[in-house]
Symmetry: C2
Subunit: 351 residues, 2 copies
């Protein structure tokens, strides 16, 4: 069972009070192969085996550090789900896991998906706001791979990808943010509109329709063609910084105008985690969100609570994360009963 | 400021896990006086002064113990409200307090309202289920009064009262019960119907429309004519015992079928009281109700909690009770902010 927590949850990066993580994803395809959805199972397996050899070669390792290959067919359903919850694989890949693989760096901050929509999807995660370093690391893996594979590349269009929206640089930057004050005050709607008109998109962290769930949002670029990587990155970074300023301002206003109300909902959230006997992921995440806001605003709790603890719950409170934490498979009812213990243990609150 | 808690909240009587208190009220009028709503202010004051003399006479005191007279005109609005919250005076008396008085025994378990709907309303409260002793005490005061006043009494109809529903014995028995399980499972509706057809009525403790508020209900007889005191009392007692059995059965079923759900809402209620920063009377009462249910079911909390503490909150959580507890007048907003402290102090829960 995979039970490691990814390094990008450690809350050590820039703006960690509001930005959970930064992520860069590069879509790449091998020149002389059909796109994955047209490949035979045999060809897919061949590519996976080839990658297995590549990452064990010393010249590749010198660039990327030690990495290991996991074949999704060989993992348990729970392990695959946990990969999804850690945002390492997509929902599509969870549902169609045959002949697919993932290459993982030791701290899971770097990974390569094999035979998802594209042959390779290089992913690099960093804690806090740090797209630049995430890109440097992703580029390093990209360069290392290119020494072993000839990429599908067009002089005019750039990298060729399975889905047209990824053609060009093939890069997607995304930043996961905690925006409770903008959620509460409704300020997100304006931001959403303005981001959209500039080619960026904001989504709930847990995918479409999960808006407001723990007040976690990811903002990413929508297009990759006709613009340079650096420009996309700087454009997004500028936007993220604007959202940070707005979120902080909203927090200040909220706490100034509704001092007691805010303290009330935050401390009650703590009380709920401490005394609940049954807890859903959603309620858990929403309580974590409120406590995170409280920590940032300087509220103190019975026990010291830091961002790292709270971040780890973003992943561990999910169904597979919870089962991974307790090291056993559980029914939904059992999960609801065990989840309070997870929160109490991670946040070191008795009860 | 009156800040004493009535003795009937001490949870020492029979069936104290479900029955908060028993109450007997006798309506009496003086023979040669108009009913209060037709009396002049002067005559009302005369009756009050006369009662003042009566209760200070040694022959009266010998029967009833020491009592003191409070003229409602001379009390602060807050004190009058606190009398209402302690169920010592009626809402009607709070609104029209001029030339009215209340005679209070030392532990407030015995009292006489002067110039409410009737000249005298003798009230006797006991903790738990104990209508018999409550009646004995009320009768003792009744007998003592009769030595000083000639009652309006009709051979055929019995005691004459201002409102026809009280004619006859002039007695009303009421029992305050905590019925959370019957509230949750909807079992109260059947009980209500069946009680009504037998001349009894069930109401929310805080009057019409307060059903479900803290799951406190009072059951009383509706008519007083054509039946002997004892018959009414025994009939009501029988009904109360039936309701107790049904409530206990409902609790057992609930805790058997929804073990975790019940624990969850009960411990969360405790957490809410412990961590809230703002608290309304209603939410406070509902949390107290859940904790009371938990105590009865043997759940343990961080600190030992007993019925007496919980009962006292029934009165202290009310607006005037709260202000009386803190010894100062407060705005509704201040009360909401102070109420969590009251609950924490009474239940001895830190936070």
């Amino acid at each position: 069972m995979i039970n490691k927590l990814p390094n990008w949850l450690n809350a050590k990066g820039n703006e960690s009070d509001i930005v959970i993580s930064s992520r860069v994803r590069l879509a790449r395809n091998v020149d002389n192969l059909l796109f994955p959805h047209r490949m035979t199972a045999e060809d897919k397996d061949k590519l996976i085996d080839s990658i297995g050899e590549t990452i064990s070669s010393s010249s590749f390792r010198k660039e990327t550090g030690e990495m290991k290959l996991l074949k999704l067919d060989e993992l348990s359903g729970l392990d695959r789900e946990f990969l999804l919850e850690k945002h390492l694989i997509s929902l599509n890949m969870l549902d169609n896991y045959h002949n697919r693989g993932i290459v993982l760096g030791l701290d899971e901050s770097i990974s390569i998906l094999i035979n998802e929509e594209d042959h390779f999807r290089i992913q690099s995660f960093f804690s806090g706001l740090n797209l630049k370093d995430a890109l440097v690391i992703a580029d390093r893996v990209d360069d290392a791979l290119e020494k072993f594979y000839s990429y599908a590349y067009h002089e005019k269009y750039g990298y060729l990808t399975s889905c047209p929206t990824n053609i060009g640089t093939g890069v997607r930057f995304s930043v996961m943010m905690h925006l409770p004050a903008l959620s509460m005050t409704g300020g997100l709607k304006d931001i959403q509109r303005s981001l959209k008109s500039d080619g960026f998109v904001i989504r709930g962290f847990f995918g479409e329709g999960s808006e407001g769930y723990g007040s976690l949002y990811q903002i990413s670029n929508q297009f990759t063609i006709g613009v340079k990587e650096d420009e996309i990155m700087l454009g997004l970074e500028k936007r993220i910084n604007e959202v940070i300023v707005k979120e902080k301002k909203s927090r200040e206003t909220l706490f100034k105008q509704k001092t007691y109300e805010m303290q009330d909902i935050i401390y009650r959230a703590y009380g709920n985690l401490k005394y609940s006997v049954l807890l859903t992921t959603k309620e858990g995440m929403n309580n974590v969100s409120l406590i995170r806001l409280g920590v940032e605003r300087g509220l103190t709790f019975d026990e010291h609570i830091d961002y790292k603890q709270l971040n780890s719950l973003i992943v561990l409170a999910q169904p597979a994360g919870l089962q991974s934490y307790f090291g056993k498979s559980m029914s939904p009812e059992e999960r609801e009963r065990h989840r309070p213990r997870l929160f109490k243990e991670i946040l070191k609150i008795g009860g």
